[in-house]
């Protein structure tokens, strides 16, 4: 240890050359993998989106035709609005609820690990199984939830009423994913050093003041991750609504993914579906960038 500290040359090097950018070369393999698995497929989608593809040998360049068609397609616009509504609802419920659940978990109890594992359980269930569980659970004739709601005097049938279908979908997503927000928030809460709380107590802060001025600022990092994950996931949700409502009743729960799958896999309209995907990608990119920038900008103040 001592020779290292007294080694003048070492000190000099670190003092004048704090950054050695050569380490970035180590990232090169990742670039190659991402290029292979993400960038090149994305380029293919862009290639498809400007062509009318009939089979392997006949394809015609059509320019922006598919984009124009998609943007003027009322079904696309409706599905888009529905998708935004769904993401906004899900975020508005899951984030506060997740924080509340995390606040409710004791940090020191012997039961804490058990509670955490129980919380993590819904996250381990595959999407289509979640859909199937809720398909049974919410059925008005035999499902536990559906029968109970109807017995309580409310007429409830998610297969017939658009509003009920929506509520069931939101409930299902909350059931599936609130734990993620709760676990992330809990991790954030446990990383707050005790002196912060002691200082707040000395200042006579009330419970909500502790939450607002001590915990919430320290939770920002994990909440950014939670919101981004939930935003992207709920914006791309496919399997659960597909299993539970299949987009119905009517088109009332047909989200973008559902419509896209019908186009690409059902009708095999590769060109329009590719244009659709590029538009979809652009919007996700915009949302994530906007959100990230807003949060980071507040950080700099």
């Amino acid at each position: 240890m001592l020779p290292l500290l007294t080694n003048k040359r070492w000190l000099k090097v670190t003092a004048f050359k704090p950054h050695n950018n050569r380490a970035w070369l180590g990232v090169l393999p990742v670039f190659l993998i991402v290029g292979f698995s993400a960038v090149i497929p994305l380029m293919t989608v862009v290639n498809y989106s400007v062509q009318d593809i009939l089979d392997f040998n006949s394809r015609f360049f059509v320019g922006f035709q598919w984009y124009r068609d998609t943007l003027n397609d009322a079904r696309f616009v409706d599905a888009f609005i529905r998708q935004i509504g769904f993401s906004a609802t899900v975020l508005a419920v899951e984030i506060p609820l997740g924080i509340a659940v995390a606040k409710g978990i004791s940090k020191t109890s012997r039961m804490t690990p058990i509670v955490l594992v129980l919380l993590a359980l819904p996250l381990l269930i595959p999407w289509n199984v979640v859909g199937t569980i809720w398909l049974m659970f919410a059925r008005p004739d035999i499902g536990l939830l559906g029968v109970l709601i109807n017995a309580a005097g409310f007429s409830y049938n998610y297969t017939a009423d658009p509003l009920h279908a929506w509520l069931t979908l939101v409930a299902m997503d909350v059931w599936h994913w609130t734990s993620l927000v709760a676990l992330l928030s809990f991790a954030g809460l446990t990383s707050i050093p005790a002196p912060y709380y002691q200082a707040a107590e000395l200042d006579g802060a009330r419970a909500w003041q502790v939450f607002r001025y001590v915990e919430l600022p320290r939770l920002r990092g994990v909440l950014v991750i939670a919101v981004l994950l939930r935003l992207m996931d709920s914006f791309m949700i496919y399997t659960e609504p597909f299993v539970l409502t299949g987009g119905g009743p009517g088109n009332s729960t047909t989200f973008l993914t559902q419509y896209l799958a019908t186009m690409a896999v059902g009708q095999f309209d590769l060109g329009p579906a590719a244009a659709f995907s590029v538009l979809y990608f652009l919007f996700i990119l915009l949302f994530c960038w906007l959100f990230y920038t807003m949060v980071m900008r507040n950080d700099e103040r």
Partner: protein, 90 residues
């Protein structure tokens, strides 16, 4: 050209983006960017402004294709102008 269903317009599009990224890399090595605040209500580096230009170009095209009947070339021209303004003063 038939692999991955390439067409010349898309190939040129990606070559353009690739070249731009290469130029930005060289510029960054020669003359590291300084984060600053311009027209945009946030502190940006050169790369940030390039990304914002690309994203706005995308959405200008979306808006153009969605609302206008005229040729999309004008939208492209508009996004070029926007990009220049953003890169220079953004």
């Amino acid at each position: 050209m038939s692999w991955m269903a390439w067409t010349w317009p898309t190939a040129l599009f990606f070559i353009a983006i690739g070249t731009a990224l290469l130029i930005l890399t060289v510029l960054e090595l020669r003359q590291p960017t300084i984060a600053r605040r311009g027209l945009l209500p946030l502190v940006t580096t050169r790369g940030d402004r390039f990304f914002i230009s690309l994203l706005s170009a995308g959405f200008i095209h979306v808006l153009w294709l969605g609302t206008m009947d005229s040729a999309v070339v004008w939208g492209t021209l508009l996004s070029l102008i926007v990009a220049i303004i953003l890169m220079r003063w953004g």
